[in-house]
């Protein structure tokens, strides 16, 4: 019998989430979202260590190639599995 554990867990999880969510609304956590975007930056920022815009081209191309290859492989296996599925 696993239902009692599951129901207890789900109930506890649901109640905690709901309480926290309601607290967040009451506490104004969903207000002032424009300012919230800047929170990580409000700390003092170090001077830029960057020689900016030197993002080397070959790295972009390599990453792009890896991304496309991964996507293509994933797509291919999806098609392959669906074609071979004995539905």
């Amino acid at each position: 019998m696993y239902f009692p554990y599951f129901i207890t867990y789900m109930a506890v999880g649901f109640v905690i989430s709901l309480v926290v969510f309601l607290w967040a609304i009451k506490n104004g956590q969903f207000k002032d979202q424009k300012r919230a975007r800047f929170l990580p930056l409000e700390d003092e920022l170090e001077p830029s260590v960057a020689k900016v815009s030197t993002f080397k081209r070959y790295e972009v191309y390599t990453l792009l190639f890896l991304a496309l290859a991964g996507l293509a492989a994933s797509g291919a296996v999806l098609v392959f599995s669906l074609l071979n599925a004995n539905i």
């Binding site: 696993y2 599951f6 967040a24 300012r35 929170l39 700390d43 960057a50 994933s74 669906l82 071979n84």
Partner: protein, 456 residues
């Protein structure tokens, strides 16, 4: 926060402690992985050495990667950014140091007990009861420190990273206890199928409710800072956070689609696995739009470079995961190395990369000196990137060979010779990752202890 008597600056002892923990255990964990991979090509290698047989090496590898390398790395960043985002000090640096010590003690007991054969034989929940309790204690200590820091905050709004890290820690403490059935100390399990359901409910949450939120928290902090640009949308990030809680919490049964569990559970898990695209894309769109046009800045900061690459891996692992939850796809991909490939993209490519990224981002800030060697970190980046892609390609091929063979009723042993060459390649890639871990540990040690760099 504990302060330096002379400078009154934060000491960041906890963040440093977790950095060292992560660097050290990454080395041990990847060595165990390499050993396991070698045993798969040379099964007699550790013949008659009971504590080094594959069945013991594998759980040591897996648990050390999760709880020794990735989680502490992500926590080291959290202990740095949570107080800063809340414009306050860490509640207790002393408690933090105690947590680091307890955490490492727990890890040592994990290694020793598993090597001695004390295992409950349930994946990700192998550890025996006393160690389970130590781990729950360690998570509880982390939570107390973070939640008290939230309580004493001077910034009223909780930035999304704070939401993620706090939720990740609470949810893990709870699901870990449940998944390890801690109310049954002797067996640590229920009986039969219900046990499998409970176990996978927890097992999935290790990735979904621990590694993912902690990694998201780091990315949401590091990327805007490295780009010197505000987050694209904080509302979207909160939407992603709450939808992750709704969707991710009950998809564990997608690990059991081939098992006679109730259909309604399978349906929920499949539907929500596909729905995962919502929190995933909410996160990625936000991060990528924040970084739009700023790739130069990302490239210039080694920490951000790791983190950004991790987000690309997250895209892959999630899209792949949603597809793997489709029963027809899983008929081919389940029970073979395809899943191992997916696991490595997720844990090393996504969470591991972001963990290292966060670590390299904060190291100069917690030591007040530049990173010992940017070159070594860059080198490690490329080794890991090549390693992850290599694992993915090789293991995916092996998985397809196995999946198809078994689907066609082929006998298992007949395809072993076909797999051998891939297993050799896989072990070589393991060597690359292990070497990168040694470089990483050296870089971390030199950055913290013997750093010749100018104090900034």
């Amino acid at each position: 926060m504990t302060t330096n008597a002379t400078s009154a600056l934060p000491t960041y002892m906890t963040a440093k402690g977790f950095c060292l923990t992560s660097g050290f255990w990454m080395m041990v964990a990847t060595f165990m992985g390499l050993l396991g991979a070698t045993e798969l090509i040379a099964p007699d290698l550790t013949e008659n050495i009971g504590w080094l047989v594959f069945g013991r090496v594998r759980p040591i590898h897996v648990n050390l990667v999760l709880f020794g390398f990735v989680t502490p790395g992500l926590l080291s960043s959290a202990f740095y950014y949570v107080p800063r985002l809340l414009r306050t000090e860490l509640y207790s640096e002393k408690l933090g140091v105690i947590t680091v010590l307890a955490w490492n003690f727990a890890l040592v007991t994990v290694v020793v007990s598993l090597a001695m054969g004390y295992s409950q034989g349930r994946e990700y929940a192998e550890m025996i009861w006393p160690i389970d309790m130590l781990i729950v204690l360690a998570f509880t200590l982390v939570f107390i420190n973070l939640i008290m820091t939230v309580a004493q905050r001077k910034e009223p709004i909780l930035y999304v990273s704070v939401w993620y890290v706090c939720a990740g820690i609470v949810l893990t403490a709870v699901t870990f206890s449940l998944g390890n059935v801690i109310w049954k100390p002797n067996s640590g399990s229920l009986v039969g199928i219900p046990d499998a359901i409970l176990l996978w409910f927890y097992g999935h949450n290790v990735f979904g409710l621990l590694l993912t939120p902690l990694s998201a928290g780091v990315a949401y902090y590091v990327i805007p800072r490295a780009c010197r640009a505000p987050l694209y949308s904080h509302t979207l990030s909160l939407f992603g956070f709450w939808s992750l809680l709704v969707v991710y919490t009950h998809i564990g049964t997608h690990h059991l689609l081939q098992v006679p569990v109730p259909t309604w559970l399978k349906v929920i898990s499949i539907v929500d696995s596909v729905a995962m695209v919502i929190p995933v894309m909410a996160f990625l769109i936000n991060i990528w739009y924040t970084a739009k046009g700023k790739l130069g800045e990302i490239h210039a900061d080694i920490g951000a470079k790791f983190v950004f690459t991790g987000t690309i891996m997250y895209f892959f692992v999630s899209i792949q995961g949603s597809m793997m939850a489709l029963p027809d796809v899983q008929r081919v991909t389940h029970f073979n190395n395809w899943v191992v490939a997916h696991a490595h993209v997720g844990v090393l490519g996504f969470a591991g990369m972001i963990s290292l990224g966060g670590l390299y981002y904060i190291l100069p800030r917690i030591t007040g000196k530049p990173l010992y060697s940017r070159f070594l970190a860059d080198f490690q980046y490329w080794l890991i990137l090549i390693g992850v892609i290599g694992f993915t390609v090789v293991l995916t091929i092996v998985g397809l060979i196995q999946g198809n063979a078994w689907l066609n009723g082929e006998t298992v042993y007949r395809i072993l010779p076909e797999m051998h060459v891939y297993y050799v390649t896989r072990a070589s890639i393991g060597l690359i990752i292990f070497s990168s871990a040694i470089l990483g540990l050296y870089n971390i040690l030199r950055s913290i202890f013997f750093n010749p760099g100018e104090i900034s």
